[in-house]
């Protein structure tokens, strides 16, 4: 089953059975954050809804902060993020989602963007909790992923809040 978000397009069995190295985990973490920044930049350009725009601006700042932390850590650890099947699948899914978002306008765009944010963050939380954190061997990388989890959970709750407002 292929769903519109990058993460959900990954087969669940592959997510559970995969064993990622620290350089691969770093690549997945950075890629997943970059993808959400990409979605947010589309929203900032297209939306006329103040709440949706503010949310998108927060996504850009917050996910960039996580990327900055991750880049600082891999630089310190002298680790080079390594592309892998998971990060490639993320990117492939993201291209489809971006095309879908770019095809919509007005209220339909707002709904599509926010719906995607809800499902993307659910999938990201699942990936971080069940794949990235358990596979991380470096303590600092594991700690960074653990500290990012509450941020992603808040983003999910915030997106769900806007989703409710849009459905009224």
């Amino acid at each position: 089953m292929v769903i519109s978000t990058g993460l959900l397009s990954l087969p669940v069995s592959a997510q559970k059975s995969q064993k990622l190295t620290d350089p691969e985990i770093a690549s997945v973490a950075v890629t997943a954050n970059q993808i959400d920044i990409g979605y947010a930049n589309i929203a900032i350009k297209k939306t006329k809804n103040a709440d949706v725009k503010k949310f998108a601006e927060t996504m850009v700042k917050d996910h960039q902060a996580v990327i900055d932390k991750a880049v600082a850590l891999v630089t310190k650890l002298k680790v080079t993020p390594k592309d892998n099947a998971t990060s490639k699948a993320f990117l492939a899914g993201a291209e489809k989602t971006k095309a879908m978002l770019n095809s919509k306008t007005g209220a339909a765009f707002d709904k599509a963007y926010v719906d995607n944010e809800v499902s993307y963050h659910k999938a990201a939380i699942n990936e971080v909790q069940n794949v990235l954190i358990p596979n991380a061997t470096n303590g600092e990388l594991k700690a960074l992923l653990q500290s990012a989890l509450p941020l992603f959970k808040e983003h999910l709750a915030h997106a769900e809040m806007i989703q409710k407002q849009l459905s009224k």
Partner: protein
């Protein structure tokens, strides 16, 4: 001579007032260990912002107490009263803090991350 003294006194007062005002703005939260919810001997309470939470989420304070919010999180936050324009901070950047003298009970949130909520309860 007397007018010079008065002038010095007036200027000193202005500087002291300016320093006091600056004290209510965001400033670096370094060089001190803060325990969340702990009151020091001068009636100052601290609320730590970390892991997308205000800790303690509920704080009992006396009128006139100073509350300091310290951002130890990985992203920027702010402090905004639920009641419109009752009080609000500028953006509290990572590693910075903001303080306010409490006059009344109030619920507040982070306007950047509106699911983060806290409450000040007057004793």
């Amino acid at each position: 001579m007397r007018s010079t003294k008065k002038s010095i006194l007036r200027n000193s007062t202005y500087i002291l007032c300016a320093l006091f005002f600056l004290g209510s703005c965001s400033s670096p939260a370094t060089n001190r260990n803060y325990d969340e919810g702990k009151k020091d001997t001068q009636g100052t309470d601290t609320i730590v912002i970390a892991q997308m939470q205000f800790t303690p989420a509920e704080l009992s304070v006396k009128p006139g107490d100073t509350v300091i919010w310290i951002n130890n999180d990985m992203v920027d936050h702010d402090v905004t009263s639920d009641k419109k324009n009752f009080f609000y901070s500028d953006t509290i950047h990572v590693g910075k803090m903001w303080k306010m003298v409490v006059k009344d009970s109030a619920s507040y949130h982070c306007s950047i991350h509106p699911t983060m909520q806290g409450r000040l309860i007057l004793k």
